[in-house]
Symmetry: C2
Subunit: 267 residues, 2 copies
């Protein structure tokens, strides 16, 4: 996710898809998935209409097909399965069957291949961004420590609809005063934050916290690092606008029910 989304923000108007491919079993093992993932990637490179950064990995634990996941919407969801990489809050862009090598688009929303002369690299990243998973009992002093340490943006992976504890609202307000951007995402992974439902959320908004909508916390971290590095010296207002602008489809305004996976309730 980190690598893919860094590339997705840095490489503008791509004339070809950029494909990250790997394997869950080492390539020196007979059961490796590396060859299939690599072979199908070539089909994607040739046939895909999109100019996006994608991650190509097994779609199932068998050798049935490979999926091209949008780099800013993919997450490793299992420590070891072949189909560990999955799209979150968005459909994969495309699929290639094996062994037939049939290419099929799955997602109607994509960035088309650009003209070669429009291709651009915008690749400065700031190291003054931090990602914090919030938990009950988190000491608010950690926020003050980070502000004092010169960090310029903090991504809070909040609970549920986007909350951190009430007691920390003052530290968030202080961060805002010092010019530090604070973003709130959700650690439920699926769904989106809504900070208007509960009073804690509304207090956080008032203290300057910026809602992350349905962006993955990892992608929010990378985007802020890219924004602060590549567009230094903007006003807070412009940073907020840029953070909420859909650069690489890191936001999906419409979540169909099929985007939440189906859970087996038998054992």
């Amino acid at each position: 996710t980190y690598t893919a989304s860094a590339l997705a923000f840095a490489l503008r108007n791509l004339p070809v898809p950029v494909i990250l491919v790997g394997s869950q079993r080492s390539s020196d093992r007979p059961s490796s998935d590396s060859v299939l993932n690599m072979k199908t990637s070539l089909a994607i490179f040739k046939e895909a209409p999109f100019g996006e950064v994608v991650v190509c990995m097994h779609g199932t634990i068998s050798d049935d097909y490979v999926l091209a996941h949008r780099g800013v919407k993919v997450r490793k969801m299992h420590s070891s399965r072949r189909d560990a990489f999955q799209s979150i809050n968005d459909a994969p862009l495309a699929r290639v069957d094996f062994p037939g090598m049939r290419f099929k688009m799955l997602n109607p929303r994509f960035i088309a291949r650009g003209r070669r002369e429009d291709f651009q690299v915008v690749s400065k990243f700031s190291d003054r961004v931090v990602l914090l998973k919030f938990y009950p009992g988190m000491e608010c002093g950690i926020i003050d420590f980070l502000v004092d340490r010169g960090y310029r943006a903090i991504v809070f992976e909040g609970t549920g609809l986007g909350h951190i504890r009430n007691a920390c609202v003052d530290s968030v307000a202080r961060a805002t005063e010092e010019g530090v951007l604070t973003i709130v995402t959700t650690q439920t992974i699926f769904g989106r934050v809504n900070m208007n439902v509960y009073s804690t959320g509304r207090r956080l908004l008032k203290a300057g916290a910026i809602p992350g909508h349905d962006i993955l916390s990892e992608v929010a971290y990378v985007k802020l690092s890219w924004m602060l590095g590549s567009y230094p010296g903007l006003d807070r207002k412009d940073y907020v606008e840029l953070f909420h602008r859909n650069i690489a489809y890191e936001y999906n305004p419409i979540h169909k029910d099929s985007l939440f996976p189906v859970w087996s309730h038998e054992y």
Copy 2:
């Protein structure tokens, strides 16, 4: 997860199930799921053979059935859906159909109701534990800051099989020397850590990092807080043994394929 697992560790030899119930829509709205969740909980209280802490919530977005998830294996996986709460790396304990109120056990592994006279409350929790989600670029100085600040345990939510960056191994070794326990879980959520596969994992083990197997990072945080609070002054060796001892089925040695949800690859 935090509340449920704190109760699961604190309440020993439960003579009855302890049920946490809630709703995803406020009870003042006609579409609220509160009544159904509450009604089915009573059936679980009456019929369940287990004496465990469970979370009872809708199993689907319709009013079909409610699931009793084991408190130490449940996670909120969606910010707003009725079926947001789901079991991770384990099957839900039981299900109650609606409106039939038929009770059905789903999981053969459970802690039976205990005798009333054996019931015990072990409920001291330490606030000197911290949960850190690792990300590329995390400053290792944060670890040193936490050790200096007097924290006695750090849970790292690591990447993939349980990794944090090589550069931070020295800070982990220093934490171990200072008597701080460092646990590594995986942020893939599903699956388990295996720190013997790659050299970074092996270096972390050598520096004293303790593998979290398939425990959820949130539960590891609560368990350490409970261990340090309720059993103060143990040796490192005894803390490691206690952390790896299955107190409330927070570990599941066998992951069936059905525990990873099914992802729709059509949109």
